[in-house]
């Protein structure tokens, strides 16, 4: 792996004394030799892929890494090109980014904000990464986004679903392709109305941390707008493994829908427990009892096994989509690895391509140039239909999928089926929506 000289704001760089072997310090002021942090000066450009490799989300992290490697391969002209062929922007040539071969470094976030920042810092300080991307939880994404803003590199968020990432914690250098809690609610609500009617009593179980709260707020607002009544909102500890004591009282509360605002291991366990208690066979208020999991992930759904059957939720993307872009991506990923990609893999692949494309269009790796190219960028052909990278909050607006756990899966990957593709217009909100208020992008930082 070759490494370029890195420079960032605050770096006082010596003149490179080639042969003498002794460095003569020459002090530069704030305007250092390079125009921006880690400006690639050699024949390569380095990207930093920061994903959870240990801890509960390690499998999602591994899938993200696969997608990153695939994206790099495609950017450098290898493989079948994947979604580069279907992408509406044709700036990418398959010769790296602006002729520079794409290199990458990987790191382990451990799903802890501290470790994630340490890993990202080492990529910036040691490996000269000009862009950081990845993450499989909102806390980590927000923490790393803040770091990238300070360091003056671009952050392309991976799987992060909290409203805050592009809401109160949004940053000028950070961009999110993934959807968010508000969009989940907005996409699910009409489907739930069609399926379960407008006269329903919902009981929320919510993971007791920031993501859980924004999710609960979004779903409750969306369902209450339908006329649903929210019976109770119960917070469950993050560390909980057995949810029986939270699920047992549900039936008695008069609720006929259980909303599980959980993700990852929490979701698997709470859903398994709910099904164990036989909630889905019960009739309450004369209606069939239903369970809703607003944020679905196929990898995690696998952990819940048969319990997901018939349960509705939303997802950013699913491999069974039949548009050309999705098919191209599934084909190139599936051929290389032998199984279909997850939504986490899809979103990070898109993010890598979007970043590379923005560099090409801007003609620079300078974060401010890249950001400008991404802001307000409209594109298609990345599997989610027409998409807008909104300038006001750096959030992508695109179709959201409502999915259901499949009754008769044909393979171990065939767990979910797409019920409805909610169009982008239905999930779009104003940049100053109260759920997203309280933060500011600030100005882009090039280091």
């Amino acid at each position: 792996m070759s490494k370029t000289n890195m420079t960032r704001r605050g770096v006082l760089k010596t003149g490179a004394v080639a042969s003498a072997g002794v460095a003569l310090p020459t002090i530069f002021t704030a305007s250092s030799a390079a125009a921006y942090t880690n400006e690639p000066t050699g024949p390569n450009v380095t990207l930093g892929f920061n994903v959870p490799q240990t801890g509960p989300y390690a499998d999602e992290g591994a899938d993200e890494l696969r997608a990153y490697e695939l994206a790099v391969e495609h950017l450098n002209g290898g493989g079948d090109g994947g979604m580069m062929n279907t992408f509406s922007s044709k700036a990418l040539q398959g010769n790296g980014i602006m002729g520079k071969k794409v290199d990458f470094v990987t790191g382990d976030t451990q799903t802890k904000s501290d470790a994630a920042r340490a890993s990202a810092k080492s990529m910036i300080e040691k490996d000269g990464a000009v862009m950081i991307t990845g993450g499989s939880s909102s806390g980590v994404a927000i923490a790393v986004q803040g770091l990238c803003q300070e360091a003056g590199v671009i952050f392309m968020a991976g799987l992060t679903h909290s409203n805050d990432t592009t809401g109160k914690d949004k940053k000028a250098n950070g961009f999110r392709h993934f959807f968010n809690g508000y969009m989940s609610g907005a996409a699910l609500a009409p489907v739930l109305k069609n399926l379960y009617g407008t006269d329903r009593n919902a009981y929320h179980l919510t993971a007791d941390y920031t993501w859980g709260w924004t999710q609960e707020e979004s779903i409750a607002a969306a369902t209450e707008a339908l006329g649903w009544n929210t019976v109770n909102k119960v917070r469950t500890p993050l560390a909980a493994t057995d949810f029986s004591s939270y699920i047992a009282p549900v039936l008695n509360s008069g609720a006929d829908v259980l909303v599980l605002n959980h993700y990852g291991g929490n979701m698997v366990n709470s859903l398994t427990n709910a099904v164990q208690f036989g909630l889905r066979e019960k009739i309450v208020n004369g209606k069939q009892f239903e369970i809703v999991v607003p944020l679905y992930s196929r990898l995690m759904a696998k952990g819940a096994g048969e319990n997901v059957k018939g349960i509705h939720g939303s997802t950013n993307w699913h491999w069974s989509l039949q548009d050309d872009a999705s098919k191209a991506f599934v084909k190139s990923f599936g051929t290389k690895y032998g199984f279909p990609p997850s939504q986490a893999a899809h979103t990070v692949y898109c993010q890598t391509l979007l970043y590379a494309d923005a560099c090409e269009r801007a003609g620079t790796h300078n974060p401010c140039g890249v950001a400008e190219a991404l802001e307000g960028f409209e594109f298609d052909g990345l599997g989610n239909g027409k998409t807008l990278y909104r300038a006001e909050d750096h959030q992508c607006f695109k179709d959201v999928l409502v999915v259901r756990g499949k009754e008769n899966p044909t393979s171990e990957f065939d767990l979910l089926e797409v019920v409805e593709v909610t169009p982008a217009s239905q999930v779009t909100y104003a940049p100053d929506h109260p759920m997203f208020a309280g933060g500011a992008l600030g100005t882009c930082n090039a280091g």
């Binding site: 792996m1 070759s2 490494k3 000289n5 420079t7 605050g10 770096v11 006082l12 760089k13 010596t14 003149g15 490179a16 004394v17 080639a18 042969s19 072997g21 460095a23 310090p25 490799q53 240990t54 591994a62 890494l65 490697e69 990458f104 470094v105 990987t106 790191g107 382990d108 802890k112 904000s113 501290d114 470790a115 920042r117 340490a118 890993s119 810092k121 080492s122 300080e125 040691k126 939880s137 909102s138 806390g139 927000i142 923490a143 803040g146 770091l147 803003q149 300070e150 805050d164 914690d169 941390y209 920031t210 993501w211 917070r235 500890p237 993050l238 560390a239 600030g442 100005t443 930082n445």
Partner: protein, 398 residues
Amino acid sequence: MLGLNKKDTSLLVIVAALVMFAPFILNPFPSDSGLAQFNAGYPDLMQRFVIFGIFAIGFNILFGLTGYLSFGHAAFLGVGSYSAVWMFKLLSMNVIPAIALAIVVSGLFAVLIGFVSLRRSGIYFSILTLAFAQMSFNLAYSVLTPITNGETGLQLTLNDPRILGESATADGSIPVTSLFGLEMRSTYEMVVGPWAFQFNAGYYLCGIIMLLAFYLSIRIFRSPFGMMLRAIKSNQTRLNYTGLNPRPYALAAFVISGMYAGLAGGLMASMDPLAGAERMQWTASGEVVLMTILGGTGTLIGPVLGAGFIKYFENIFSKINDTVLHNWFSFMPDGLEDFVVFLIHPFIGKGWHLTLGILFMLVVTFLPGGLVEGGQRISRMVKKKSDDDTNAKTTPAE
């Protein structure tokens, strides 16, 4: 010198030299070589080495001297971090008040927890400290979110008041932490041929504070107070019947080590103004226990070595991936290259935990005194060898 005996002075001098020249020592491989992956001489990791060194030195004052095994020391680190970040949010970006507040608040916290926990000894004490720390963590993650910002961690924002500073810089960014204007992140880079050595202001601040902390710990170890602490570990009954009250001694040690942890937390926040709740989790408390035991409990330098060892694996081994491996072994024939990569693959990247676990077991099995004992054995071997040499020269005369 400085009230230390010859041996301690030379230890301090060696540590000082290592800290000062760390940017060279930790960057032995030219940056264009494949082995550059093993270089640890970049600011963030160097800062972590010394900060966790401080944390472990402090922990060792409690555990190494008194034998009280606290399983909740990370709580003080977390409290220190939160205090420091709040100082940056409310007062100014100068690190001095932040670090000062971190030490004070964690000290108060330690008085409280120590006063209660020290009513019990042995495993009962350990579980009490664990319980307090886990309570702090769980609450910080959820109910106390207004103070701690929960899952995301406490961060600086553009609308923080910062009454003695500025909310935002002229170009609309969040200001950076500094020591009277010297930015903590400012780095002087020296390029010598293929090497690039980085001298970071924040690292040197941490390094100097670590040396002070280390010096203070030597003084404590060698003081009458330190002797009393060792007496607590050795025989509390005798101490009681010698007219000495073990409780305030143990509490003082607990508070001192809590303040060390707070100092470490404050420095962490000063280098990178974010305070996450995970810093208080039991795994973080366990980590400092492991650092101390791994390095050598009750020794002066051991905890620092243990901290460096664990942080090195966490940051360096986790970043090695298959692509890197293929680069290293590209000189081999293809089949062999793949085979070697296949063999090493489980131990690097996402397998860094496995490597660390195996090393824990090996070290503790074969080096009962930790890494320090390893060092002693090597130096004894070297000494023995040189003794043999001198013997070899002198014996023929007899």
